[in-house]
């Protein structure tokens, strides 16, 4: 942007003030926004964890046991507890945006937002139930 002071009536001065780098600390709503955005870091971390788990199982019985032991070490456990909070927050906020992002039509009528939201929660419950069944069934 040019810093010229030679402005005329037809080219008024820019009235945009650069917000502070820490603008997201100014209001609770802004902070909630940045927490929601930060959830992506935990999505990324959990991809790494999942791949380590896959690699652990691929390495055989001992390597899987080592991975479970490593998961119980204080720092991995703490990181995963924080990840759980952020991932639930991610899920809730992502589903909350779904009725706006998804315009589902049945015939000519648009499916109401609360129904779209409910469908997402139902799918979430079903997916979680399936994972539990897959991993806890002995």
């Amino acid at each position: 942007m040019s810093r010229s002071h030679a402005y005329t009536d037809y080219h008024p001065r820019w009235l945009r003030r650069r917000p502070s780098t820490y603008w997201w600390l100014e209001k609770p709503a802004y902070f909630a926004f940045i927490l929601r955005e930060a959830s992506c870091l935990f999505v990324g971390w959990f991809v790494v964890y999942l791949l380590l788990l896959v690699n652990g199982v691929a390495g055989g019985r001992d390597s899987y046991a080592r991975l479970l032991e490593w998961s119980a070490s204080p720092w991995v456990l703490s990181l995963n507890v924080i990840s759980l909070l952020f991932l639930v927050y991610h899920a809730v906020t992502f589903f909350a945006a779904a009725p706006q992002a998804l315009a589902v039509h049945v015939g000519r009528t648009r499916v109401p937002g609360p129904l779209v939201l409910a469908a997402h929660y139902a799918a979430w419950a079903a997916a979680s139930g399936f994972v539990l069944w897959l991993l806890l069934e002995t």
Partner: protein
């Protein structure tokens, strides 16, 4: 000719990764990250894990989950750096690094899931 922008595609990958990670990650991190290490629940045996991961469908779902979640991370992280920290002058570098990590991570995921016995 109109120049095609990659943004709609990247947004779709972001969105698909967001939904898939929201559906599957909370339960997985609860089990492997919290409930099994704290012994609230018994972790699946090696045999059970080998059977579950031996199923091609599991691997396909896991690959989709990993790859799309990485693109979800890349897109959101890039925009957070852009809006949140206002690092606008490095936009190209950041885009290259974030989507590069997503592509590289997807290749690693494909390799690990492919070679897993």
């Amino acid at each position: 000719m109109m120049r095609r922008h990659p943004e709609p595609l990247l947004w779709m990958l972001f969105s698909a990764g967001g939904i898939l990670s929201a559906m599957l990650m909370p339960i997985l991190v609860f089990l492997f990250g919290v409930a099994f290490p704290l012994k609230w629940l018994t972790a699946p045996s090696y045999e059970q894990m080998a059977v579950v991961l031996g199923n091609p469908l599991t691997r396909l779902v896991l690959f989709g989950l990993c790859a799309l979640s990485l693109f979800h991370w890349a897109h959101r992280f890039r925009h957070t750096l852009y809006d949140g920290l206002q690092i606008k002058h490095l936009n190209e570098v950041i885009a290259f690094v974030t989507y590069g990590v997503a592509v590289g991570g997807s290749v690693v995921a494909a390799y690990l899931l492919w070679q897993s016995p």
